[in-house]
Each structure stands twice: as C-alpha cells, then as structure tokens.
Amino acid sequence: MSLLPCRPRGFHRGNEVYRYDEIDQRLVEERVAQFRDQTRRYLAGKLSEDDFRPLRLRNGLYIQRYAPMLRVAIPYGLLSSRQLRTLAHISRKWDRGYGHFSTRQNIQFNWPKLEDTPDILAELARVQMHAIQTSGNSVRNITTDHFAGVARDEIVDSFVWCELLRQWSTLHPEFSYLPRKFKIAVNGTAADRAATYLHDIGLHAVRNKGGTGSDGASPGGEVGFRVIVGGGMGRTPIIGHVMTEFLPWPHLLTYIEAVMRVYNRYGRRDNIHKARIKILVKALTPEQFREDVEAEWAHLKGGPSTLTAEEVRRVEGHFTRPAYVQLAGDDADYTARLASDPGFAAWAKRNVHPHKVPGYAAVTLSLKKTGVPPGDATAEQMDAVADLADRYSQAELRVSHEQNLILADVRQSGLHALWAEAKALGLATPNIGLITNIIACPGGDFCSLANAKSIPVAQAIQERFDDLDYVHDIGELDLNISGCMNSCGHHHVGHIGILGVDKNGEEWYQISIGGNQGLTRPGAPAAVGKVIGPSFAQEQIPDVIEKLIGIYLQKRESEEERFIDVVWRIGIEPFKEHVYGDANQRQERRSRSLAAA
C-alpha cells in the first residue's frame, strides 16, 4: 500500500480542512449582510430587545455578565493555521487579546462590542468561518472525535459526514425554531471519543456484516450509522437510546429529518427545562418515539434528500489531505530520545497519540496549565500554535472537546523539537487524560447563568495536585467542573464531576463520581455520575478530591485499574464514607448540628 501523497502532485502543502466552494462562501457572506442589517435596525431602535434576542442568538451573540459574548463556530473542531491566525487577530483587534475554546469545539470571545460584531463576522467570512447557529434553538455545530482521519481504529473519516450534516443543517428553513437547542455528534472510529450517547442525536459509524468482512470486524461490510437519540447532560442527564443499529448511509439525512420533524412538532415548548428531545423521548418512551419516527420516515425515505455516493465524494474532495511521507515505521531518533529524556518521555506518554500512518503521531497541546482558565488561549499563543501547525503538522489543527488543541499529523522525527517549543509556550503540560486536565466552563467569572465559579476551583485542584509523579501515578481520570446545571463543563460524565450550586445566595459545590463520556475503551460505556452527598464550600474541594483519590489508591488492585473502574467495581459507598464518615458518624453530626440549632 502506497502512502505517498494521496492527492495529485502540485497540490499545495497542508490545510486538511474543508474548502468552501462559491456557494458556501456566498451563503456565509449573505448571513453577514443579514446580521449587519438586523444589528443596524436594533441599534436604530427599529427592532426591540425582545425581537433582536433570538436573532442575535442564532448568530452566537449572547449578552453576558459584563459584555456580549460571541461564539464562533469551528465546524467539527477543525481549523487551518490561517483561520487560527484570524482568530488571534480578532481577539487582538476587537477583544482583550484572548479567546476561550469551549467543550463544543468552538471558540468564544468574551469582550466584543455589539456594534463591532458584523465586522468580526465579515473578517471570519474571509477565512471561510462563521458564527451561524452557534446558539439559539437550532442545530448547533456538529462535533466529532478530534482524532478523525488519523485514528488507527477508523471506520470512516467522520469529518466528511460532519460537513455533509453542516451543509444540510445550515440555515435549514424547517428546523431553525426548534423547541430547544439541538446537538449532533458523529463518531467515525471503533472507540467513541465523540460522546455519542450524550447528544440529541449521536451517530456512530459502523460496518455491517456482509461483503468480504463476514466477521463484522474487518472492513468489507457496508457503511452505516448506529443512530442514538435523546441523550444529553444538563438538568436531566440521560444516556441516549439506540433508534437503529444500522442506518445505511444514503438514508442519513432523511432519517434525521424524520427525527427532527417529530421533535419540532411534539417537543415541549411550555417549559424551557423540559424542551430538549430527551424529555420527549422519555415521555413517549423510546419505543413509541422510534415508531413515530419510522412512520414519518416512511414518507421521506428515498426522497430527494437521499445522499448519493457522488455527493459524499464531492464533499470528501473539498477536504485537503495531508501529504504523508512514506516511512518504514517508528522513528529511531524519537525512540532513542524517549529512553534518554525522561521529561520528554513523560510528555510523550500523555500527550502523543498513535497515528494510522507509520512514523507519524498526533499531539495534544495542553490548554490546562495551572493558573490559566481551562481552554483559554492568548492571541500570542494562537499565533504561535498556528506557526507550530505550519512547521510540524501540515498547517492544520483541531480543537478537542476537552478544550485542548491537537496537531494531528506530526512526524515522529519532529516530536522532540515540537515538545521543546510547546514547553516554552506553556502548552506542554503532560497531563492529558489525567486529573489536572480539567474540563471547566467559564463559570461565574464570566457567565450570567452560572451559580458558582469554576475557574478558581479548577485552579485550586491543579495546585493541590502539582506533583507530576503523583498525578501520573493516579493515572487516567477525567475531572469536569460546571458552574451550573446547564453542565457546559460536562460534570455528569466526569469520573469526578463538580457542579456549582446556589444555596441561599452562596456558592457551593456538589460532587459526583462514576460518570463516563463514552466507550473510549471496551467495557466502559457512557454513564452519568452519582452524587456522593451534601455539597461543599469552595475551599473544601481540594481536600475532598484528595480523599476520593486516597480511597481509590487504597482500593485499586493494580495500576491498570483506573479510578472509574474502582468506582464501578466497589460502588460509591466506600468513597462516601471516606469523605463524610460512616453512617453512624453522619447521624451523629446531624444530631449535633440539630442540637446546636
């Protein structure tokens, strides 16, 4: 099998991104013009605040605690270095010199002026970017695995399917005023790194049996999708329900249209907290919902929205592809340096990931340095990362839902030099998959919805766990923090989850354990964490986390047994006891506090 450049020679280097055609570009520009006019009418007093709100929201513009917040779409988390430089430029020119990469693989600017936003959008359009449907009750940015296209366990390249869905959902006339926001995730590999069971619709590519791969494991069967509907986090965390185990790919759009039409017509609109599709699926029962969808689909199946192989190939052809050099296998110099440089080896162990092409690797640049709000990057860092992407990774990068940046196509021979440069930029914290790689929403420091701050809590935990050897010994652990029930920090699916709650106007934190974002390894499906007990004050949190870790280290049977595995094996009770004392002690404490009152 040849691994030499997979595109015709003469094709310029890099940019594994989707390139707009003339129509894609025109639609984005027309959206800028439309929004410019809406903003003009609002500022001229011709559009009321109430009328402008839903209009600005469907273009990603919130009015936040201190200033407007503009959320820019990074479709499926994929960026070219040129686009990243534009984001840096925008943050310098119209904001305060930084941006926040979100758990939805987007970027948020926290300080733009309302009247500047049309110009910002015009600047984005110049590099084929936009803020369309990054908020509001519409289909949001489609998310996927940040190792799409390079993972060894690839079934399909999910970027292509994400782009097909992006086009279908963009400015969709029927589904732009849904009961509530709508999030779709696509996973194209055997492992689920896109949290498909926790989205309104999760699509997991599968190959059915048949063709030459009659065992179902080897490629050879036809491509289809397992369709999962009604999962989600937020106030009511629910693991999604499988609607069909195998939807042949040509039917992808018509089936989704059927799901969305049932939701648009029958989803609740009387209560914002009960308006997501998960509530409808639960109320109807998944079985009834499936029947309703099938009945609707009977009218749409085989209709004009049925995808063609030609269209899939056309969209695939609009993605530029990395030009890989044919290499025999692992780079000898890389292997040698792993043995001789422990600092490099520690980084490589956590932040370097396998690649489907021999001699290449994917690298996570950590945005989780202690003391820096998770996901934040300065304009200088963005420019520097764009530069790294140009020199090491074919001018392309990805944003992960864990709020880090990924260079996906790095030659192993360049890893050591890349590490040194990333370290100098503060982007080489070797903590991917570990307790200090905290996912956190912006929280009460920025967000008007938050009950409590997230960032100082993340920082306090990172400071407590500042001994790298200890952190590595603890092993894989997802710790996620949300400042409110909207769960932008994905606390429900953290192995340890922290949720900010409001108790009589004070900020408290509820702790849950046992959540999991998805089948990232065999036998570990998506799960919602369980709350361990009454909530804590902010300053208690590092102690509580340390106690949870303490009991884990005591109970684990081997270093391979992760925190989450121990929680699932022994249940939450031993953890609870260690944190709150046993049942008798708890009773005693209650009596004492009652007596004192």
Partner: protein
Amino acid sequence: MATLIKDRNVVADPWLRLELSADGSLPPVPPAGDIIMPLALWQSRRKALLVRPGRIGVWLNSHEDPEAIANDLRLFGVVAVNFPTFGDGRGYSIARLLRERYGWKGELRAVGDIFRDQLFYLSSCGFNSFVLREGEDPQEALAAFGDFSEAYASSVARPLPLFRRRRPSPPPLSRAERGARTSPSPLGRRGRDEGMEGA
C-alpha cells in the same frame, strides 16, 4: 382593508380572520364575506358554513394537526397557520406537510407574530402569503425574500437539495442508493486507500 404580502406583492386582504373568544368559545360568524376560521369552528359548524355565501378558509394553530383538514382542502380558498410567538417553529413543519404531504396548492398564509426576519424560511417552507404583525412595514419587508440566494436543504421552494442541483446534474437515484443494500462503501479505510493508490 388590511394589507398583506402575497406572492411577494403588497396587496389588500379580502379575508376576515375569526378568532376564538377569550374563553375559548366559538366566535359569531358574519352572514356574508370571505372568512378564515379557527379549526374548531370548521369542525363544529361544517354543514352551515358550506351553504353560507362567501368563501371560506381555515387557520391552524401551532399545536394543531394539519391532517385534520387534509380531506377538506378542496373546500378552502386559503389555509393559514398561526405563529403564536416568533420562536414557535411548529408552523414551519405544518406548512411543509400541507404542501408536500397533503398537496395543498392554494394560498398558504402565515399569521401571528410574523416579521421580516422570518420571511425567507417561511417562504422556503411553502408559505406564499404573510400578514405581518402590527407596526411592520410590508414594503420594507419585501427585501427579506432575497436574504439568501441559495439553500442547501430540500424544501418546498427548492424540492431538490443543492447537491442534486449542482452541474453537471447527478444521475437519478440508483436502486442501490434507495435500498443501500449493494452499494460500495463510499469512504473509510478501504475507500481512502483506493483513493490514495489512484493518486
């Protein structure tokens, strides 16, 4: 006479829209003239309404099922769909069902909380007439039909999605695409490798 936008022109509205009374009871029916009535009125006074002088039409509220009038459509001069609030998007689906499933070819009117920023999507979903809410200038709103020059998805206005309208035009659906039983995998490891070898 009130005005409305019909087929992208500002015209006088010959129809009188009747609403249910505040307590939900049926409104009195004027002895003559063209009326658009709530579904409940049509369902309870059907026979009398059919012999009354003047044309009739029905309006559906956003929670009502267009199937309820599917067999009566030939009797109506207009069908309207109410948008109680701007954000209530059920009417978009109702319009598509009326056009695409129940075959309504006549005037399909959007009423309620309607202003210029919805017109493009509403017309895409099959509405061809619009009663703007009070205070909106219909002349000014006409420009909104041109907000976008193209659309990706299939709709009433563009039954073929963009990918079936690109040139050169793609072939009609093959049996394989309809049934997807025998089609080759378009992508994925095998597909990619083939592409790479071909390059």
